[in-house]
Point group: C3
């Protein structure tokens, strides 16, 4: 038996066990392992790259405190977020000693057995930070030291890591009202890394957003268009899209409770917007307005060529106690059943036949893959399917995706991979899992004689690299 | 590496890669590969067999222009249906050169990698037309020539192919108002092939059908019963069922947006029908009437012994632009979430305990397999589950079906396979995929010691041949 | 080929066929095969253990007549429940000759090929009753004799079997109004077997229960609290919970059509309860009251520490004819699509952050595993997921569970296994299937290098033994 105190990352990890399939999978994987990483959607902070001397903090600050994939699991077992250093909105006490936070994490690292978070972290610690000892309560502080020592080295500046990770392009996600100062600083610095913004107007489009009125004020200010009604709102958005495009953006991104779409008349849109300005918009107003604005965004995408992403179906902030105490993105966003066929009918009928539109759909409801999304993507020229999202960005999630999407949608109506992460050092591990899953799927087709080897090589290259570039127009 | 310009169809294709399972699968497959094909449901045009000298047209006309599985995928990548020769309703121009259409198809054949359409076509070209060269832009015209030369030979008359395919019986799908002249001609010709009609009254039962009033006029005319109200409508339908039965039909078929069933009082049924005759029926009327008529059809099936098929859950003609320009069945029918437990409650409570009824259910929502359909079929004597339908008539779709249906429904509450195709030359390839999937599943049970070899042989024979005959009373 | 008249139960049965995975699976399975069985939820009659001389009846009475898993499959093929000896409510004739019933069962045992019932029964006959001949129409009477002879032996008294099965603890399911006399008798007898009651108040909580008013009268009587309104109803329930706890209960159990929860005001609760007392409660009243009572039960669980189980989503007695003629639990309960994210929002917001609550959720809708249940359990400290339930307590059901739950929920937010059976002699076979499925899953992680061997050993022990004890506070 191998030394169980050491981490093993065998070259053929994750692949299905049949020796012949594994051999083909490994060959296909190797054929793309050296391809650059294309990161068309994610939440990395551009600040990391704007300041050439930016340094990551300590191991807890880097890997635990900001990562809701990590602390939600600890919380589910009764560990308070305060113990993990998650800051409280009211300024109440949270743990400040990173070694204590790290120790709790290490003591409970067994909770991540068989989870994607466990798989990513293990690979990240090993490959990025050179940690080849298993993380346990016993080894916690020794590993903390190892990581901390690495973080102090110049090779661990984000720009150096970006280059070492072989990232070809990385797109951030930015509010419509963001002045994109970090992106401007990156451009001005002369550094060659491609960091592109993505236009995400949720805070001004979804009328139910906390402090919506203030976001509208910011929009007026930054766009130079006083938003006093629906018409000026649209103008301001068009203005911001143009600015984002100028700054290198190739895409927009939209969240919504459901993929509901429906066009309002100009009068209705105006009436709802006026109610919202007065603070009188109802929940129904908000839903109808979002549904209408998704159609408007499709129209604008046809006009300006920005790719449109739609991420529907999350019940955000399901745990009010956690939201009130700690705020957004604290591991309490829960998927809901999501219907696409009827909800997207208005939008697709108006714009779905227009190849100038590239609408990339995501889902948190895997049942829609084979039932609705693949048939839609296998018909409408404007539609592509994004990769497995969030909880489904996992080994099994990828198997379900290949299994349920590809037969009907066809590979070439999908959009490759995106890591969707705010955890910058986890990017190589996430892409590696996708490339392995893609190689494993393609190898399965080869050994079952569904595709031949030449086809398989074209397919794995598309999955690892080409599809994302094409779909996002990068 | 094998010659990548040649098509490989190894004898063990598609099976799971474990060598022991593959060996058993191959043996089970061979044990039924010679069984005749039973085709109890499909859309082949009976005209093919009515005229002994019927000849298929050119390769594009045979394999592309009429096949929405094929052109939807090309359309999804921005290729206009006009370029593929799909005729426009308004008589506008469509490509008429079959070699050009074929060239576009071949140039884009890579889109079908890993899809059932790709698998069927590859096998069909190889086995039916002797094409052993991979279809690409380069080989397009050479392959066109090969197929065209075959089509000119007398062995490629439909009746000869029917015999060569070893088809025991093939059921067509025919409108309630169809005079079945083709079926009569086949009977009169003395040819021995079994071609049976199926009674599909959707156009007169679903009040929302385009030109419903004209269909009712046709029904009056052909049945000899003037349909002036609900009662005469029922009489006319009973009359047509009797005629279909006389002509050899053993089954009816019904499409519906949902499997909603509910009995109307005689007065309600009459009132709705009268509104429909005046062109005043509402959407709600239409839904309630369809739900009622499904119950009526079950009643008639109990009386006349015709097997009843129900195909619910497709959102037909989702793309209005395509419907208006090209009509029905153009690859734009999209599945919807479909509920069976509550919807079928009225029908099953009234007729589900009666073994004289054989109701075969289909679904486009795989989530219903294990949750609703298998428990229902594993209880009600009148119920059987049809095979994977449409998008799910695929290798993965079959895996899901075996995986999610069999444990709870039991093999003997399922209805074997049907190819549901209008593409006559694809029939052997479609049945072959099912027999391979069935052999692969059964072999999995053998190597995991869930069933023994003797059971497995009975099971594969039932799946390949017996279940379809029994369920459809053929 | 092995002798096909003999039953084969190879040691490596059910495992995936890859030789390396199978080897690891077998080793992991062996590492826990000797662990005692923990049975925290089921429907075994405590009477079996209250009377030291209790004897099972004949083979039909033991294995067919009371088992709806068995007779539903026979019924689905048109065999009347009367022929299987199922008693009629109206006292009408049912078959009384157990040998005839057994013969019908044996003649049709092929219907269970590939089903969990077939797998359990085969193993149970072999391991518990020493039957190594395949059950067919030919061998029916010989096997009947074998089983009958065993049942006559003292080793087949339930207490002896309990000990031989190595059951550490078995929890029964008992009405709120049950005096628990059997449990008292077991305690009084001095026998060492751990048989614990579970508090299931459905009949008094769900206002739509047949004879609800009588159940309330029984509740008044047994609790010594005259239930005249909502307040006394709550007092009576608290009183009964305290009694159950005194008698060793560690858990409650609740069925509901949906997991709907919502708190009523005291006035609303009182108003609904008063309407119910007068026989005037509506369906809507009943649903709202159940939703409210689930919240009350969570509150009480926090106070008294009883684990709370929720089993929602079954459409009970779908077949009215069968219900009217034979009563409850006759194989006609059908699952429905079940939503958790919104339905549990009120309950989880009020109590989900409190670790004193242990709420174990079950589902008959597998689509909720990855979409809703795993994300909820991977966040809320109070929540755990129960094992695959009912139709999903099967080999495939277990694969789906491991595949769809574990990545997001994490192993340690699950509750191990429970057999949920009323068929006492099937308990070892059911746990054995779970342990094999768990070993197979864990071995898959090992051979794919997701977890190492040391982790795998901890995981299989948790799955086979530890998680159930912890989750149920046993």
């Amino acid at each position: 038996m191998p030394d169980s105190t050491k981490v093993q990352l065998p070259e053929d990890r994750y692949f299905d066990p049949d020796p012949r399939q594994k051999e083909v999978a490994l060959e296909l994987y190797h054929s793309v392992a050296g391809q650059p990483l294309v990161c068309p959607h994610g939440h990395v902070d551009p600040r990391l790259f704007a300041d050439p001397n930016y340094r990551f903090g300590n191991p807890a600050e880097l890997l635990i405190v900001p990562d809701h994939y990590v602390f939600r699991m600890l919380y589910s077992q009764g560990i308070a977020l305060e113990e993990l250093g998650v800051p409280r909105r009211d300024g109440g006490a949270s743990e400040t000693d990173p070694r204590r936070i790290w120790q709790i994490f290490a003591d409970n690292f067994y909770l991540f057995r068989g989870t994607p978070t466990g798989m990513w972290l293990t690979q990240e610690l090993f490959q990025v930070f050179g940690v080849d000892t298993r993380l346990t309560g016993q080894t916690a502080q020794e590993i903390y030291d190892q990581i901390a020592a690495k973080l102090a080295q110049p090779e661990f500046e984000p720009r150096r890591m970006f280059e070492r990770f072989n990232i070809e392009v990385l797109c951030t996600t930015d509010a419509a009202t963001d002045p994109l100062e970090q992106h401007q600083a990156i451009k001005a610095s002369g550094w060659g890394g491609q960091i592109k913004p993505t236009f995400r107007p949720d805070a001004v489009v979804n009328l139910g957003t906390e402090n919506w009125r203030q976001h509208i004020n910011s929009l007026s200010q930054i766009s130079g268009t006083a938003v006093t009604g629906y018409k000026t709102f649209i103008e301001a958005l068009e203005n911001r899209r143009a600015f984002f495009k100028e700054m290198g953006a190739t895409a927009t991104d939209h969240a919504a409770g459901t993929p509901f779409t429906a066009e309002l008349s100009a009068q209705e849109a105006e009436a709802i917007f006026q109610r919202a300005l007065l603070g009188n918009a109802t929940t129904d107003d908000a839903e109808r307005f979002t549904g209408h604005m998704l159609m408007e965004m499709a129209r604008m995408s046809i006009e300006d060529g920005l790719v449109m992403q739609l991420h529907p179906g999350s019940f955000r902030n399901h745990n009010r106690h956690i939201f009130e105490r700690f705020g957004l993105d604290k591991g309490a966003d829960i998927p809901t059943p999501t219907e696409y066929t009827r909800n997207l009918y208005p939008l697709l009928n108006k714009y779905g036949n227009d190849s100038r539109l590239s609408l990339i759909l995501f889902t948190l409801d895997e049942t829609a893959y084979a039932r609705e999304l693949a048939p839609l993507a296998g018909h409408y020229p404007a539609l592509k399917l994004g990769p497995p999202w969030w909880f489904f960005d996992s080994w099994n999630g990828m198997q379900h995706y290949f299994d349920q999407v590809m037969e009907t949608a066809g590979l070439y109506n999908t959009a490759g991979f995106n890591d969707d992460t705010r955890a910058f050092p986890s990017i190589p591990a996430r892409h590696d899992m996708w490339r392995r899953a893609a190689a494993n799927w393609t190898a399965g087709l080869v050994v079952r004689h569904v595709v031949d080897r030449a086809d398989a090589e074209a397919m794995i290259l598309a999955l690892a690299y080409g599809l994302a570039k094409t779909a996002y127009r990068l």
